[in-house]
C-alpha cells in the first residue's frame, strides 16, 4: 500500500462525528490501573514489535544484535533513488550496528529491520534519508529509530509531512536531538520523540524533560556498543541515547500494542525516572 492518501484503499478520514455515534467508536478502558513500569512493560521482551533502524545498515550475525529480520538499502542509481531489497552489505560504518545492539539489549524479542541510508557519501544524503523514511512508514513499522538528522531547509516541509503521517499511522519515530546551536530535523517536530543524553549508567533510567524540544534524556555516555567485526566499542553521543528509548518503546508496545504514538509518549512520561519513583 502506498503512503500517498489518494492511492490508498483506506476509508476517507472521519472529519466529524454524527449524533449518537460515540458508541460506535468506544475504546477499551486500557488504563484502569496506575501506569507503572510493571504495568507498562513488565513480563514482555518486545515480541511481535517491528523496529526499523534507519541508519548505516546492521552487521549480520553480531552476537549483541542477533537476528536481523530484513535488510534493505536506499541507493542512488541511474540518477534516481531506489530501494534495494535484500541488501547483503551489512553495515558500512558501525553506527547502525551500535544502535541495533542497544535496541536488542532492551527488547530481546523484537523484530529488527535495517534500512541503510548512510554510507554512500554526503551528497544527496538528505534525499536518501527521506526516501528511506517513506519506505519505513509505508511498511508500517511500530518504531523507527533515527539517530540522525538533516539541516537542509529544502527538505524540512516534506520531512514534517512524513513525521505527521507516521504519527497517524501509528509508527513512532524516535529521533536524536542535537546538542549544538544549529537547527536540525526531524527531532524538533512534536510528532516524533526526541532524545538527548544523560550521564547515568542504567539503560532503563530515562528522564522526561519539562523544557522541550528535547523530550526525553536516556543513557548516552560511555556505552559499550556493538561494533563491526562482532566486537564492541565505547561510545558517547545522542546517537546512542536514542535507541534506548526505541527499545523501551518496543517493550511497551509489546505489552500494549493498541497504543497510539501520543499514548505511547504519555506512558513514557508517566514511567520516566523523574516522574515515578519505583
Amino acid at each position: 500500500m502506498s503512503i500517498l492518501a489518494h492511492e490508498s484503499n483506506e476509508e476517507l478520514p472521519a472529519w466529524s462525528l454524527p449524533a449518537a455515534a460515540g458508541e460506535s467508536i468506544r475504546l477499551p478502558e486500557a488504563w484502569t490501573e496506575p501506569v507503572t513500569r510493571e504495568w507498562a512493560w513488565g513480563g514482555t521482551a518486545g515480541k511481535g514489535v517491528r523496529v526499523c533502524v534507519l541508519d548505516s545498515g546492521i552487521e549480520h550475525g553480531h552476537p549483541l544484535v542477533g537476528r536481523v529480520d530484513r535488510s534493505v538499502a536506499i541507493v542512488r542509481e541511474d540518477g534516481g533513488i531506489v530501494v534495494r531489497e535484500d541488501d547483503a552489505e551489512g553495515d558500512l560504518c558501525g553506527h547502525g550496528t551500535a544502535c541495533a545492539g542497544i535496541i536488542r539489549m532492551l527488547a530481546p524479542e523484537c523484530e529488527l529491520v535495517s534500512v541503510r541510508v548512510l554510507g554512500a557519501g554526503y551528497t544527496g544524503s538528505a534525499k536518501v534519508m527521506l526516501r528511506g523514511l517513506e519506505w519505513a512508514i509505508d511498511q508500517g513499522f511500530d518504531v523507527v529509530n533515527m539517530s540522525l538528522s538533516t539541516t537542509k531547509r529544502d527538505y524540512v516541509d516534506r520531512l514534517h509531512e512524513l513525521a505527521d503521517m507516521a504519527y497517524f499511522k501509528r509508527t513512532m519515530l524516535v529521533a536524536s536531538a542535537h546538542n549544538m546551536p544549529v537547527e536540525s530535523f526531524p527531532w524538533r517536530f512534536a510528532s516524533v520523540i526526541s532524545v538527548g543524553s544523560h550521564e547515568e549508567s542504567d539503560p532503563f533510567t530515562f528522564y522526561s524533560n519539562p523544557r522541550p524540544p528535547v523530550e526525553f534524556f536516556a543513557r548516552g555516555l560511555e556505552i559499550d556498543v556493538a561494533w563491526l567485526g562482532g566486537g564492541t566499542l565505547r561510545s558517547t553521543g545522542n546517537s546512542f541515547a536514542t535507541p534506548h528509548i526505541s527499545g523501551i518503546c518496543a517493550l511497551i508496545l509489546g505489552k500494549h500494542p493498541e497504543l497510539t504514538p501520543y499514548q505511547l509518549k504519555s506512558v513514557l512520561h508517566l514511567t520516566a525516572s523523574n516522574v515515578r519513583d519505583e
Binding site: 548512510l118 557519501g121 554526503y122 542535537h178 546551536p181 567485526g229 546517537s239
Partner: protein, 212 residues
C-alpha cells in the same frame, strides 16, 4: 551583486595564508581545550564528495594537509552524515580501523571525538580531537563544549570558503579582476595617490549612478 562585493572584498581581505592561520589556530585551540594529542579540521569537498584535511595540530601535523577520503567513511564521516557529534574511546580494539588510520595518517588514536561543522543548513566539514587527556572522566559538558567550539570553527571555515570562491572569481583577467586589483592597490598606495584614486572612484560612481 554578491560576487562583485566578494571579489572586491577579496582584494582587501588578504591572502590564503591568513585564513589558513585562522584554521590552524582553531585546531590548536581545540587541542589545548581538551589537552589532546592532536586535532584536525576536515573540509567537505562537495565536487568530489570527499573530506579533506585542512588543518592539523599535534600528531601528524603538516604531512596530512590535503589528504582526502570518501565523505562517509571513518568516525569523521559518521559525524558528517548523521550531523551528530560522536565520541569513541577504545579504537585500538578495532584492528580494521587501526590499520586504515595507520596507513592513511601514520598515527593510530585510541580515542576520538568528532563533531560536524555546520553553518545554517550547510555542513562544511568535521572537527576531530584525538586522544584527549584522560585525567578527568569524560562528561556530557565536554560534549557540549565540543559542540560550541565547533560552531566557531564552522564560521572560520565558512569565511575561508567564501574567500576562496571570491578568489576563484578573480582568477585570470576576468571582468571582476580589475575591481579587486584596484581595491588592493588603493589599500597599498601612498596617501596622495590613495586620495586621488578615491576622488576618481567617486567620479566614476556619479557617472554610473542611475538618473534620479
Amino acid at each position: 551583486m554578491s560576487d562583485l562585493q566578494a571579489a572586491v572584498a577579496a582584494g582587501v581581505l588578504g591572502a590564503e595564508e591568513g585564513h589558513r592561520a585562522l584554521l590552524q589556530s582553531t585546531a590548536e585551540v581545540a587541542r589545548a581545550i581538551f589537552k589532546a594529542r592532536a586535532s584536525s579540521i576536515f573540509l567537505l569537498d562537495t565536487e568530489t564528495d570527499e573530506l579533506v584535511f585542512e588543518a592539523v595540530a599535534g600528531e601528524g601535523a603538516q604531512t596530512l594537509i590535503g589528504q582526502r577520503f570518501p565523505s562517509s567513511t571513518g568516525v569523521a564521516g559518521w559525524a558528517l552524515v548523521t550531523r551528530q557529534p560522536l565520541v569513541v574511546d577504545d579504537l585500538t580494539a578495532d584492528t580494521r580501523f587501526s590499520q586504515e588510520a595507520a596507513e592513511s595518517t601514520g598515527y593510530v588514536p585510541k580515542a576520538l571525538m568528532a563533531v560536524p561543522l555546520l553553518v545554517e543548513d550547510r555542513a562544511l566539514g568535521v572537527l576531530e580531537v584525538l586522544d584527549r587527556s584522560s585525567e578527568q572522566p569524560f562528561s556530557l559538558a565536554d560534549m557540549n563544549l565540543l559542540g560550541l567550539f565547533a560552531s566557531q570553527a564552522a564560521v572560520a571555515l565558512d569565511l575561508l570558503q567564501r574567500a576562496r570562491r571570491a578568489r576563484a572569481a578573480l582568477a585570470g583577467e576576468g571582468e571582476l579582476g580589475a575591481l579587486a586589483r584596484v581595491a588592493a592597490q588603493l589599500e597599498a598606495a601612498g596617501e596622495e595617490a590613495r586620495l586621488s584614486g578615491l576622488e576618481l572612484l567617486r567620479a566614476l560612481e556619479r557617472l554610473l549612478a542611475p538618473e534620479s
